[in-house]
């Protein structure tokens, strides 16, 4: 904390008036502006909070905001969230990938066949190395399929809509061929941990560790950024905003961990483990949720801190300018599709682990959920605009709607109606806000 105080006095000297920085800001708008908060992301968080509160009020028995439901929500959102982070980069470069559901099926079937049929022939079922071999092959296959489609888009010049529409048909068909349409089950027991389930969680203590590590990282990143800007003598964010932002984000992380940790292992399992009845053991975060969070962090890093990410946004903003700036636009496009494929492979692993089975109908309709999550999260089809965090929030919004409506016993067709309306509404709002901002 001493570090923070040192820079606080340093900043106060910069501004020349020590007391002024702590003056209460006049309006919400000025708070947002001087705190340099991403207004769009903040708006999405507010929208998500509204959805949650409304569902809590109207679900029978007010069950929406129970630890159990939110825990389930986190697991259910993770598969779409993993893929939506990749879809952001695809859409930012003015492309689209309609094949993700079908690629998920073919990769899932191959991973299923490897761990259920091929590897057990080599060694035995449930061999400790099986899960990693199956996973690595699945990721490589996903990346290869994605990159292959990317090459046709970038180097041959066929529109991505067409290439991946073809892929949508081809890969689904090939997924069927892997096992002649039969279900492959069960999965390797280690592999199944990827999907969460009763074993695939990290428990209460480790969840706290994850939360605390996240908080330390938030503080460290803010400090590094601030010190860097101070070194060049740039204007710094006001101290109240800096501290406020860190406190709010760390508080949110720890509150989420605390609340999710109140989802306990079922009483039957407690008894099986020979513990006294009534003992509360936290499930803790599910492994697929951790995977999705890690993917979101890594993808944000790639999108905002690496040259590749900068080129993706450059191409999306102005393809000709990117080319004239000397960016290798074609290989960049191929990489976005390869990365998308890799993430589809990862999502497929989580999905077959959750189902404990690989089926050729895996991921049917998933491409639309993934695209919708990215778009609800603020990714624009005109290119150049979209964030990873937004897409993850978008996935959470979509899954929250579905989860809430299931609790309300609304049937599937009506659910689709609602999700469809929300999708169009979200983009409409975004368009209006952006048009106003442009004026």
């Amino acid at each position: 904390m001493t570090e923070t105080e040192v820079s606080a006095t340093g900043r106060a000297r910069d501004e020349g008036a020590p007391g002024r920085a702590f003056q209460p800001p006049r309006s919400w708008r000025s708070i947002v502006r001087s705190a340099e908060i991403d207004a769009r992301l903040a708006g999405m968080l507010v929208a998500l909070a509204l959805i949650w509160i409304i569902f809590q009020l109207i679900t029978p028995g007010n069950t929406f905001l129970t630890p159990r439901n939110l825990w389930n929500l986190s697991v259910q959102s993770s598969v779409v969230a993993i893929m939506a982070t990749g879809m952001v980069l695809i859409i930012v470069t003015r492309n689209i990938d309609l094949s993700v559901g079908a690629v998920m099926a073919v990769v899932g079937m191959v991973m299923g066949a490897i761990q259920h049929d091929f590897l057990p022939d080599l060694w035995r079922f449930d061999h400790p190395a099986t899960w990693i071999v199956a996973l690595v092959i699945g990721l490589a296959l996903g990346a290869a399929v994605g990159a292959f489609q990317g090459v046709i888009v970038a180097y041959v010049g066929v529109p991505s809509f067409i290439v991946t529409l073809g892929g949508f048909l081809v890969w689904r068909g090939l997924a069927w061929r892997v096992a002649s349409g039969q279900t492959i089950a069960p999965m390797d027991s280690n592999f199944r941990l990827l999907g969460g389930g009763s074993q695939g969680t990290i428990g209460g203590t480790w969840s706290w560790v994850v939360g605390i590590v996240a908080c330390v990282a938030i503080v460290a990143l803010q400090l590094i950024k601030r010190r860097q800007r101070a070194r060049y003598g740039f204007r710094l964010r006001p101290m109240w905003a800096e501290v406020g932002l860190v406190v709010v984000s760390c508080g949110a992380v720890l509150a989420a961990i605390w609340y999710l940790n109140r989802y306990y292992v079922p009483a039957g399992v407690v008894e099986q483990r020979g513990l006294p009845p009534g003992t509360n053991i936290s499930q803790g975060l599910a492994i697929p949720v951790l995977i999705a969070l890690a993917v979101a962090v890594v993808m944000t890093f790639i999108a905002t801190r690496r040259r590749f990410g900068r080129y993706v946004y450059g191409i999306g903003g102005n393809p000709e300018a990117a080319e004239l700036a000397g960016i290798k636009t074609k290989s960049t496009i191929v990489k976005t599709f390869g990365l998308m494929g890799l993430l589809v492979g990862l999502a497929a692993a989580v999905q077959i682990a959750r189902l404990n089975a690989a089926v050729s109908s895996l991921g049917t309709g998933m491409e639309l959920n993934v695209i919708a999550a990215a778009v609800i999260g603020g990714t624009s089809f005109t290119g150049g605009v979209g964030t990873i965090a937004g897409a993850v929030l978008g996935a959470l919004v979509m899954q929250s709607l579905v989860s809430g409506m299931v609790l309300m016993r609304i049937d599937a067709p009506l659910q689709d109606v609602v999700v469809g309306i929300v999708l169009v509404l979200a983009v409409t709002l975004d368009t209006i806000v952006r048009r106003r901002a442009a004026r």
């Binding site: 060049y232 450059g314 903003g317 102005n318 700036a325 150049g384 605009v385």
Partner: protein, 268 residues
């Protein structure tokens, strides 16, 4: 004075570019010496931009040679051109509208930390220093450039061209979108770059612009070079006659000039 004793900084020799049978540029030869401004003028579709795109690597020539310091070079894409110290300010500015000013200045040539991560603060710092020289009124270093004014966007495009120690700068209509004050600023900058010994190709449809700034003027008409003249040897009317009628300065009669002026303000 411009030293023309050595080999030219750039020579485009016998350049041809065809688009589907139409010769956009047909056997054009132009050159440029250090510290010199060569104006490239001509009407719409004369082939000025197409010619210059072969030098900036945006579009390869079908035939012809490009020589830098008297040595033939091959320029196949914008990266080759930049490596040879050729920077271009395009008429469209070629900015990524969704990215901020420092991001555009360094687009394709980002500064990174030792670990290869983008060094945002270093890029912003370098851009601030550049702008304090080029356009002191420029203050918005964090907003996407789409929210900036035409003049500010032009400053970003110019900053990008001059930051990387260019030897040759190509400016395609650099003042077309600017007001009088900003135009004067760009003119000042062109003179400054010339003082520093850079060679500048200045493309413009505004003959007065070119006449003020250029040492020599190359005139193109329908893809062909009409001729290259020393600015001091010709009048504006003679250049106009070259642009519109394709006539050499000596061939222009009083009647031609009268005709030019009857035709109304043709110089745009």
């Amino acid at each position: 004075m411009i030293d023309r004793s050595g080999p030219p900084l750039v020579e485009l020799r016998g350049i041809r570019v065809a688009f589907g049978g139409v010769h956009a540029v047909d056997d054009v030869t132009v050159d440029l010496y250090p510290g010199e401004v060569v104006g490239l003028v001509g009407g719409n579709g004369a082939g000025k931009t197409t010619l210059i795109r072969t030098l900036s690597g945006a579009h390869p020539a079908d035939s012809g040679e490009i020589l830098i310091d008297g040595r033939p070079v091959s320029i196949n894409d914008p990266r080759d051109a930049k490596e040879l110290g050729i920077e271009t300010i395009y008429q469209t500015l070629a900015l990524a509208d969704n990215i901020d000013a420092p991001g555009n200045v360094f687009l394709g040539r980002e500064l990174t930390t030792r670990l290869g991560n983008l060094d945002y603060t270093a890029m912003e710092d370098a851009t601030r220093k550049l702008m304090s020289r080029l356009n002191p009124n420029f203050v918005n270093f964090v907003a996407p450039v789409q929210s900036l004014s035409g003049g500010q966007r032009q400053s970003v495009a110019i900053a990008r061209a001059v930051h990387f120690n260019a030897r040759i700068v190509i400016m395609d209509e650099p003042t077309a979108a600017l007001g009088p004050a900003e135009t004067a600023q760009v003119h000042g900058l062109i003179r400054q770059l010339k003082e520093e010994g850079l060679g500048i190709f200045l493309i413009s449809h505004d003959i007065h612009d070119v006449y003020d700034l250029a040492d020599r003027i190359s005139v193109m008409l329908q893809g062909r070079l009409v001729g290259t003249v020393n600015r001091d040897d010709v009048t504006v009317d003679e250049v106009l006659a070259m642009i519109i009628m394709g006539k050499q300065p000596g061939e222009v009669t009083q009647r031609d000039i009268a005709e030019l002026h009857e035709g109304g303000p043709v110089s745009g």
